[in-house]
């Protein structure tokens, strides 16, 4: 079972694009790790306005956390992280600085 947690901001474009982002993340996981899209779980956590802050100011950031095989080499990890960032930019029009992606070794702690 592949797992993603996506933390996004209510009312921002990522929320409106959840379906497209889900499809894109599943496709990416299939290409990168051989995931079965039907067995991929995406937990969307939508943060209410005034509940997210970056550098002490209202946040525009999306956070994506994905479980990956323990010890995944950097040659595979980095391109995957980059691809997730690019697909968020493509689907939401956000700045790349507003996407934080973590490829977490093993089961997610959240």
């Amino acid at each position: 079972m592949a797992e993603y947690v996506c933390i996004i901001q209510e009312g921002q474009e990522a929320e409106r694009q959840k379906d497209a982002l889900s499809a894109a993340l599943k496709k990416l996981g299939q290409e990168a790790f051989g995931d079965d899209p039907a067995q991929t779980e995406i937990d969307w956590r939508v943060i209410k306005p005034d509940f997210a802050w970056t550098a002490g100011e209202p946040s525009h950031s999306s956070v994506v956390i994905r479980s990956v095989p323990v010890g995944l080499p950097n040659e595979r990890r980095e391109p995957f992280l980059r691809a997730v960032g690019e697909l968020f930019v493509e689907h939401t029009g956000c700045h790349i600085n507003d996407v934080v992606i973590t490829a977490w070794d093993g089961p997610l702690p959240v």
């Binding site: 802050w53 002490g56 950097n74 992280l81 600085n97 996407v99 934080v100």
Partner: protein
Amino acid sequence: MPLYRCAVQEGRTTRAQREQIAKEVVRVHCGVTAAPPSFVHAFFTEYPASEMPGGKVAFVLGSIRQGRTDEQKAQIASDLGESVATALGCSPAEVAVVTADVPSKWIMEGGELLPEPGEEAEWLERHREGPDAH
């Protein structure tokens, strides 16, 4: 990164209190680690009081880059606990702050892997148009 996830009791915080805590997260984290403030995140989630860990008013989990010393992490927990308690008007015993280490190479922000602690200057130079620009 860092990402501080703050679980708070439902209806217990105002916008002003959350903003104050978010600014304290920046002040404490950057003061202890000398990290730049640009990418310090504080995200809040509300839970019913009955579901709060240990019955706390606030529970803060800071995911921070691996490489900080035990002393730095203890200082963050202590100082931020005090700050959150002050902001919420509760006792420090009603607040818990813990940190979790995440290797830099596991995280990408601004389209690049994060630098190791202490190696941020060049990385930041490439990301001047960061969240501060908003």
